[in-house]
């Protein structure tokens, strides 16, 4: 396991958030002055969970 002792020193500087899902969470953060970017997400594979899972495994194989 990695070392977490410096976690809050790194995170404490400034939280910069990417929001996927409920847009209201991004609106709240915006209202608090927290840098946030909401993703206009749509379900992959026409919303078919099984095919979406296969797609994500393929993406993993491509590496990131």
């Amino acid at each position: 396991m990695a070392d977490y002792r410096d976690l809050f020193r790194h995170l404490g500087g400034e939280l910069r958030v990417i929001n996927l899902g409920l847009e209201s969470f991004a609106e709240t953060l915006e209202g608090l002055g927290v840098p946030v970017l909401h993703v206009q997400w749509t379900p992959p594979a026409e919303g078919d969970p099984g095919r979406a899972r296969l797609l994500s495994l393929l993406e993993d194989e491509d590496g990131a």
Binding site: A2, D3, R16, I18, F25, A26, L37, W41, E46, A64
Partner: protein, 521 residues
């Protein structure tokens, strides 16, 4: 009755946005019933139950938005659908008017938001793990608010996070507080010296709000998800968060909130706490908790005790658990409610929005009312007659918003419980803060008033006992929400634990009140 449908192909909207849309539509002239949902199989089943699964709705796919309205006339139906269209257009126009073009993928967002360090993910569970994995691979910490994420996915995601020194908070992580920023469902609390690690969202909220009421603030609060301390997962994020809090100069005292972990996991967590050398308070809610102190560790049995023990440790004071903060007032209220109770009404019905609050109530009620006499959906020992329901449990939230956002389900359950002649007490929680409903007390107050009127009309008194999880700085306002409940006839107590005890004193055998109220009511 006229039923009309609008189908918008490939038009994904999140559940909160859709709840807001449905609520707006319901206020339209002549609108009897409405549904605004994505066309997933689960949602189609809900629409079928409500008699709203039209041909068009049946033909919808998971990425299609379905809006169904039931009205008295065709003109009203057309007007309602036109209103839906204009509300959706207004929403889009608002986003575009702000000059933003929103990214469509996580990758594009990472490119645009320089220095991004956290992904907040509240997507439907079946899609959430894949996005969380992408976020971790791109070096982001993740708060995974979504529930319904597979255990295997959780284990794999946490392994990946631990390899990279990242936090994977969740799944089903409702609340966190990092560097002064509240995330998810979070109350407005002051910054301070207390660091928290929690396997429970509303449990964390209860502790933080009670700390705030006592003038104590929070340095960091890390949610780890309800399964982190299970044997299979092995507490990787609990241990990571403890290591981080141990090294954090702003954190002077650590609080751990959760359910009892597997013995091997408990040993690891306690060893880590001892090694940190900072004072710690541990609230693992379970049936066999032995409260007490061992070295730097104080073990407590309730969320309220976690806050009280923490405050006492910070101020170097001695502390003893108390059943009620104002025993004299409690004695008087219990006496009044017991006197008004109808014959044959001796049952507590707990209707909760917060899962951990429901579980804590169950644990408090069981020994007071009889271990085998409290049922519900939380793995209680008994089949009733007393009942505690967690209305935020998965079986209630498929295709609908959580009861902390949408009171519709709780209102139905209040109506149902009020009609049961053996109901003596409705026991409730009201949770405030960012992310929660705008007026949660106001959403249920009319139903509570109607329930009490109904009981009265049938010659019996119905007690409503509640607690409000919130702070004076929350957007909804603690005082205003408490006042709204009191105006509806509720007895509002300072904590969920006290509310559960009050309910038991009103509904239980006289010996319960005698034991808790020192001399009885």
């Amino acid at each position: 009755m006229i039923t009309r449908t609008t189908l918008k192909r490939s038009f994904y909207q999140d559940s909160v946005a859709l709840m807001g849309l449905a609520r707006e539509l319901r206020t339209g002239a002549g609108v009897r019933e409405t549904a605004a949902l994505m066309g997933t199989p689960a949602n189609q089943a809900l629409m079928a139950d409500a008699g709203l699964l039209t041909e068009e709705a049946r033909a919808a796919g998971p990425n299609d938005l379905v809006i169904v309205v039931q009205t008295d006339s065709a003109a009203e139906a057309e007007a309602a659908l036109a209103r839906a269209e204009s509300l959706l257009t207004a929403r889009r126009a608002r986003v575009e008017a702000s000059g933003r073009r929103l990214p469509r993928t996580l990758d594009s967002a990472v490119r645009r938001l320089e220095g991004a360090n956290l992904a907040l993910i509240s997507l439907p569970g079946v899609f959430a793990a894949a996005e969380a994995r992408k976020a971790l691979r791109r070096g982001l910490h993740v708060m995974l608010f979504s529930d319904n994420v597979a255990l295997e996915d959780e284990i794999a995601l946490k392994r990946l996070a631990a390899e990279r020194g990242l936090l994977l908070m969740g799944p089903d992580c409702g609340t966190a507080y990092l560097g002064g920023v509240p995330l998810g469902f979070a109350n407005v609390v002051p910054r301070g010296r207390i660091g928290l690690v929690a396997a429970s969202g509303t449990g964390l909220q209860q502790v933080m709000t009670l700390l705030a009421a006592a003038g104590e603030g929070v340095s960091q609060a890390v949610g780890v998800g309800g399964r982190d301390m299970s044997e299979r997962v092995g507490a990787p994020m609990t241990l990571a968060a403890l290591e981080a809090l141990g090294a954090d100069p702003a954190t002077e005292l650590i609080v751990v909130v959760g359910k009892p972990p597997a013995p091997a996991v408990r040993a690891k967590v306690e060893a880590r706490l001892h090694a940190l050398g900072k004072p710690a308070v541990v609230a693992m809610l379970g049936r066999e908790v032995t409260a007490g102190r061992s070295g730097p560790l104080t073990t407590v049995a309730t969320l309220e005790d976690a806050a009280a023990a923490t405050v006492a440790r910070r101020r170097g004071r001695a502390w003893e658990p108390r059943a009620f903060s104002d025993a004299a007032a409690a004695r008087q209220r219990v006496k009044e409610f017991r006197a008004a109770r109808g014959t044959g009404a001796a049952v507590v019905r707990g209707l909760f929005a917060g899962g951990t609050l429901a579980y804590e109530a169950l644990l408090i009620l069981e020994p007071l009312l009889g271990v085998d006499s409290v049922g519900g959906n939380l793995g209680g020992h008994g089949g009733g007659p007393h009942r505690v329901l967690d209305l935020g449990a998965d079986e209630y939230t498929v295709g609908r918003a959580h009861p902390m956002l949408d009171a519709a389900l709780r209102v139905e359950e209040i109506q149902r419980a009020a009609k049961e002649p053996d109901t003596a007490v409705l026991l409730l929680d009201v949770v405030l803060g960012h992310g929660a409903a705008v007026d949660p007390a106001g959403d249920i107050a009319p139903a509570l008033e109607a329930a009490r009127r109904h009981a009265q009309a049938h010659g019996r008194g119905l007690a409503v006992v509640a607690s409000v999880v919130g702070t004076t700085a929350d957007p909804q306002g603690l005082a205003a929400q408490t006042a709204r409940l009191e105006a509806a006839g509720a007895w509002v107590l300072p904590s969920n634990a006290q509310a559960a005890r009050a309910a038991a004193c009103i509904a239980g055998e006289p010996r319960v009140a005698e034991a808790l109220l020192d001399g009885g009511a």
